[in-house]
Amino acid sequence: MTQTAKKYEVVIGIEVHAQLLTKSKMFCSCSKDYYDSEPNTHVCPVCLGMPGVMPVINQQAVEYTVMTGLALNCDIPERAKFDRKNYPYPDLMKGYQISQYDLPLCKDGWLEVDLDGETKRIGVTRVHLEEDTARSTHKAGEGGEGYSLIDVNRSGVPLMEIVSEPDVRSGKEARLYVTKLQQILRYLGVSNANLDEGNMRCEPNVSLRPVGQEAFGSKVELKNLASFKAVENAVQFEIERQTKLLEAGEPVAWETRGWRDDEGITVRQRGKELAEDYRYFPEPDLPPLTISRAYVEDLRSKLPELPDAARARFTNNYGLTPYEANLLTATRARSKFLEEVVAEDAGEKMLARAKATSHWMLGDFARLLNASNLEIEGSKVRPADLRALILLIEEGTISNTGAKHVFEQMFESGKAPGDIVAEEGLTQISAADELGGIIEKVIASNEKPVADYKSGKEEALKFLVGQVMRGTRGRAKPDLVHELLKEQLS
C-alpha cells in the first residue's frame, strides 16, 4: 500500500441519496412512510404515473434540502428548477424521473472530517432534490423462471442527492465523510439516514491516476454499501484491485461494481462504456423555483446546532476531552442526554457531573445499549435517573461498585435508582463497627495475603479490600475499609 500511495493517487467522489422525513411524497399527498407497509398501499394516480397526472412540489422537501445545503456551507442560488431525466425501467412509473439537472437547490459547499487529529475539508458539489423510484424484487418461480415484483410505495418518496467533490483519498476518508453526513442529516432531523434500511444510499466513485497526472482514470461506481464498514472496506478493496490491474498494465473498466459484504469483494454489475443519454430537459409541469433571500435567511436562523458546534461546546463548556465530546455528540439524542443530566448545575459541580455522566455514557451505559442493540433514545434510563444515581454516589449513599449494580437494574426495569437502593438495601455501610465482623472474618480466612502484606507487599491489601467489599455486596465505603484493614493489620 505504501508503494501505491507513492505511485498512484486515489480519487474518490461520493454520491449520497437520502430519503427525506417529510409527511408526504415528493409530488403527491401519499404518505411516504412505507417501511412497514404492505406493498402498493401508499399509492395514488400521481405516484403510479397514470395518464394525465401532474406533480406538485412538496415544500417541506424543498425546505429540508435547503437546510441541508446551509448545514453543508452551500450557496443557495435564487433560481432552481426541476428537469426530467429520461430512462426506461419498469420501476420508474413515468418513464422519467423528476430530478434537477443544471440548476440544483444547493451548490458549492463543504464539510469537515477529523482525520487522525487533522481536520480535512471535503467539497460538496451540489445538493439536489428528486423522487425515488418504485422497488423491484426479482424472484424465481417454481419452474425456475424469473419474474419481478414492483412495490410502488417507494415511488415518489422525496430523495435528496448530495454529490461530493473528488476530494476523498481513502476508504477511511470515505467512511468518515459518510458518517459525518449521516450525523448532520440526523441533527437537522431531515432524514433517518440509515444505510442498512436503504433510506440513505452511498455510491462512491473510485479511480486511480499516476501521481502528477491531471486526467482522471476510469472510475468505478460502487453499490450495495449497507454499513459504514462496508463503505470503508469496499473502497479499500477497490483501490487495491485497481492498483493490481494498473501494476499489471491492464486497463480499469469503467463500470458499476457491487460490494459483497460476506466475501469482502466487489463484482461487476454493468458496464458504463455505453454512457446512457438521459436526455434531460426542463420539467414543463413545474414552473422554475425562485428561492428568496428572506426564505434562505429565515431557514438559516432556524438551523439547529450542528455536530461540529456541539462538539466544541462539549469540550469548552463541560471540560470533556475531544474523544469524549466526539462520541457524546455523535447523535443529537446522546448530546441532549448529557445536557439534561447536568442542566441544573454550574461551575465545578457541573464539570464533575458532566465527567461522571460521560463515564457512565461511554462505559456501562454504552455496553448495555450495545448488548441489547439499542440507541440511547430507546433506553428506559432517563437523564433524571442517571443524575439521581450520580448524586447518590456523591453523597456516599452507595459505592461505585454498588452503583454499577444499581445501574444495571435501572437499565433493566427503568426504575429510579433511589427505589432500587431502598428495595435491595444497598445503602453504603459507613459505620466502622458494622464492618468490624466482616473484616475479622476476611483476615482470618486469608492467611497468605495477610502475611504478604505484613511482609511489605502493599498489593495484598487491595486484595483484602476487595474481599471485604464482596462480603458487603459492594455496600461498604472502600476508603473506610482500606483504613480499617490497615489499622487491624498494623
Binding site: 397526472v53 406533480p55 422519467y96 409541469d285 413545474l286
Partner: protein, 491 residues
C-alpha cells in the same frame, strides 16, 4: 319541439331546464337519439355513456325541481377522449389505452360535475392528440358533417363534429397546436383555446405539456363564455395553472366593440391564399369595421415563419417523455409474446402506438439527445421567447389580432395522410398561439364552395395572455351581427 331539442345551445337549454319546460332526461335522451341516428356515418364518438348520462340527467332534474342547479345543470356535455373520466374508459384515440379506465376524474371533469353537467360521451380524436384530421385515431375516422368525404379537422375533430351535427349541446376539446381551433373552423363551430395556465391540465393526458390547454367547443359565443366560466381557475394539482381571479366571461358579451383596436396579421393571410377563403376574411373585417372597430392592416409577425419548426421540436420533445410511461407494465395494452421484459416493452410500443405517434416520439428523442439538444431544443426555446416578445409588442398596439385559422377549408379524407409535412402545414396559423401561450378563438365566418360542397371557414381572434374577454367581446359582437352560427349542415 321535442325532436329539435338536440339543436339547443347550452344557454338556451339551461333556461328551458330552469323553467322546467324540458327535463334533463328529455334533453339527454334527445341528444342520445341524435347520436344513434347520425353517429354511424359521422364517427364523432368513441364512447357514449348513455346509462350514466340518463342517471346524471335524472339527478339533475331532481336538483332543478328543488330550485337548485349550477351553470350547466342538466346540460349534456361531450368531452374529448383525452380527459380522464373516472369509471369511463379514456382511450386517447390509441390502442395503447383502448381498455384504460381511469380511477380518477380530471379537473375539468370535476368542474363539469360540480356545475351539474351530464356527461354524454367521449369524442374521437387523433391518437394522443397528434394530428389535424382525426385520421390518426386508432379506431375510426370522423367525418365532417358538412361533407362526409372530408375530415373534421383535428385533433379535437370528434368534439367539433359532434357540436356541428348537434350530437352534443356543448363540448370540450384540447389544443396543443390548433387542435380546438382548426377543427372548429373546419366544422363551422366556435372553439377557444384559453391562455396557457387558465384551465387546469390535471387529468388531461399529456402530449406537449408546455403547450396543451383545454377549451370549449360550442355552438355560439355565449356558450363559449359559459363553458369558460365553468372550467377556468387555479387548481392546486396543476402547478402551471395560474392563481388569479377569473372574471365572469359572459360580462364581456356586450355587443359593443366601438374603438376596439384590431390588428390584421399579414402572416395569417398570405398572398397565395385561396380567393374564397380570403373573401371570408375580408368580409369579416368589413363587418368588424362597420361595428366600430378600428382595423389596422399590414401588421407583421415575422417570426411566424419559425413557429412550425419551433413547435415540431418542443412538442415532440415533451411528448417523447410524456409517452414513456406506456410500457405495458401498469395499465393499458401489454404485449406479452416477447422473450424478455425488454422485448415485451418494445412490443407494447410497437403494436400499441400508431405511426404518427412513433414518428413524434422519435423526433423528440432525437432533438433531446446529447449533441443535438443545443442545436434543436435549446434553439427552439430561444425562438419561443422571440415569438412571445413579438406578440407582446403587438398587443401594446392592439386589443385583438385577426387572421385565418387554417389556410384551407376541410380537406378530403386521405388527402394528406401520405405526407406528414402537408398535414403539419394545416396548423401553421394556429401554432404560434400555443408557443406564446396566448388565447385564441376560431369563429364561424362564412363558407366557401368547393366541388359543389359548402365548407365552413373560421376566422381567428387572438388576445394577450388572460384577456379572453376581449376575444369574446369581439366574437359576440360579430356573431350578433351575422348568422353564420345558426347554419346547420345537411342531415
Amino acid at each position: 319541439m321535442a325532436d329539435e331539442l338536440h339543436r339547443l345551445t347550452a344557454h338556451e337549454a339551461r333556461k328551458l331546464l330552469s323553467n322546467r319546460e324540458v327535463s334533463s332526461v328529455e334533453l339527454t335522451q334527445a341528444v342520445l337519439d341524435r347520436i344513434a341516428a347520425v353517429d354511424d356515418r359521422l364517427g364523432a364518438y368513441l364512447t357514449v355513456s348513455d346509462e350514466l348520462a340518463l342517471a346524471q340527467a335524472a339527478d339533475a332534474d331532481t336538483s332543478l325541481s328543488n330550485g337548485g342547479g349550477g351553470l350547466l345543470t342538466g346540460v349534456p356535455v361531450s368531452v374529448k377522449d383525452n380527459m380522464c373520466t373516472k369509471g369511463i374508459r379514456t382511450t386517447c384515440g390509441s390502442r395503447m389505452l383502448e381498455t384504460f379506465v381511469p380511477p380518477y376524474d380530471g379537473h375539468v371533469i370535476s368542474r363539469l360535475r360540480d356545475a351539474g353537467a351530464v356527461l354524454i360521451g367521449k369524442t374521437n380524436m387523433d391518437e394522443f392528440a397528434m394530428g389535424s384530421s382525426v385520421e390518426h385515431s386508432a379506431f375510426k375516422p370522423t367525418h365532417n358533417p358538412w361533407a362526409l368525404d372530408r375530415v373534421p379537422g383535428g385533433s379535437s375533430g370528434g368534439s367539433a363534429a359532434a357540436i356541428a351535427a348537434d350530437e352534443a349541446i356543448i363540448a370540450l376539446g384540447s389544443d396543443t397546436g390548433g387542435s380546438i381551433r382548426q377543427p372548429a373552423s373546419l366544422c363551422g363551430v366556435v372553439g377557444l383555446k384559453p391562455t396557457y395556465g387558465r384551465v387546469s391540465r390535471y387529468g388531461l393526458v399529456a402530449f406537449g405539456s408546455s403547450l396543451d390547454q383545454i377549451g370549449p367547443i360550442t355552438k355560439d359565443v355565449r356558450d363559449c363564455a359559459l363553458m369558460l366560466n365553468v372550467i377556468s381557475g387555479h387548481d392546486e394539482r396543476d402547478a402551471t395553472s395560474v392563481e388569479m381571479d377569473v372574471p365572469d366571461f359572459t360580462e364581456a358579451l356586450t355587443g359593443d366593440i366601438k374603438g376596439l383596436r384590431v390588428g390584421v396579421v399579414d402572416e395569417y393571410l398570405p398572398d397565395d391564399l385561396d380567393a374564397g377563403v380570403r373573401g371570408v376574411a375580408e368580409a369579416a373585417l368589413a363587418e368588424l369595421e362597420s361595428l366600430g372597430a378600428s382595423i389596422e392592416r399590414g401588421v407583421s409577425l415575422p417570426n411566424t415563419k419559425y413557429a412550425l419548426a419551433c413547435y415540431y421540436i418542443i412538442a415532440p420533445s415533451e411528448a417523447s417523455a410524456n409517452l414513456a410511461r406506456y410500457d405495458g407494465v401498469k395499465y393499458g395494452y401489454s404485449y406479452q409474446d416477447g422473450d424478455s421484459m425488454w422485448a415485451n416493452m418494445d412490443g407494447t410500443r410497437q403494436h400499441g402506438f400508431g405511426d404518427e405517434v412513433k414518428r413524434r416520439i422519435m423526433l423528440g428523442t432525437y432533438t433531446l439527445s446529447t449533441g443535438y439538444y443545443d442545436a434543436y431544443y435549446l434553439k427552439a426555446l430561444k425562438v419561443r421567447t422571440l415569438i412571445r416578445q413579438e406578440f407582446d409588442e403587438a398587443f401594446e398596439r392592439f386589443d385583438v389580432l385577426f387572421g385565418l385559422v387554417s389556410p384551407t377549408p376541410a380537406f378530403r379524407l386521405g388527402e394528406k395522410t401520405d405526407d406528414p409535412f402537408e398535414m403539419y402545414l394545416s396548423d401553421v396559423f394556429t401554432l404560434p398561439t400555443n408557443i406564446a401561450g396566448i388565447p385564441g378563438m376560431s369563429l364561424p365566418a362564412g363558407f366557401v364552395e368547393q366541388d359543389g360542397q359548402l365548407l365552413p371557414v373560421g376566422i381567428q381572434l387572438l388576445a394577450k395572455p388572460f384577456d379572453e374577454a376581449s376575444i369574446l367581446r369581439t366574437a359576440y359582437a360579430y356573431e350578433q351581427a351575422t348568422s353564420w352560427h345558426t347554419e346547420r349542415p345537411p342531415g
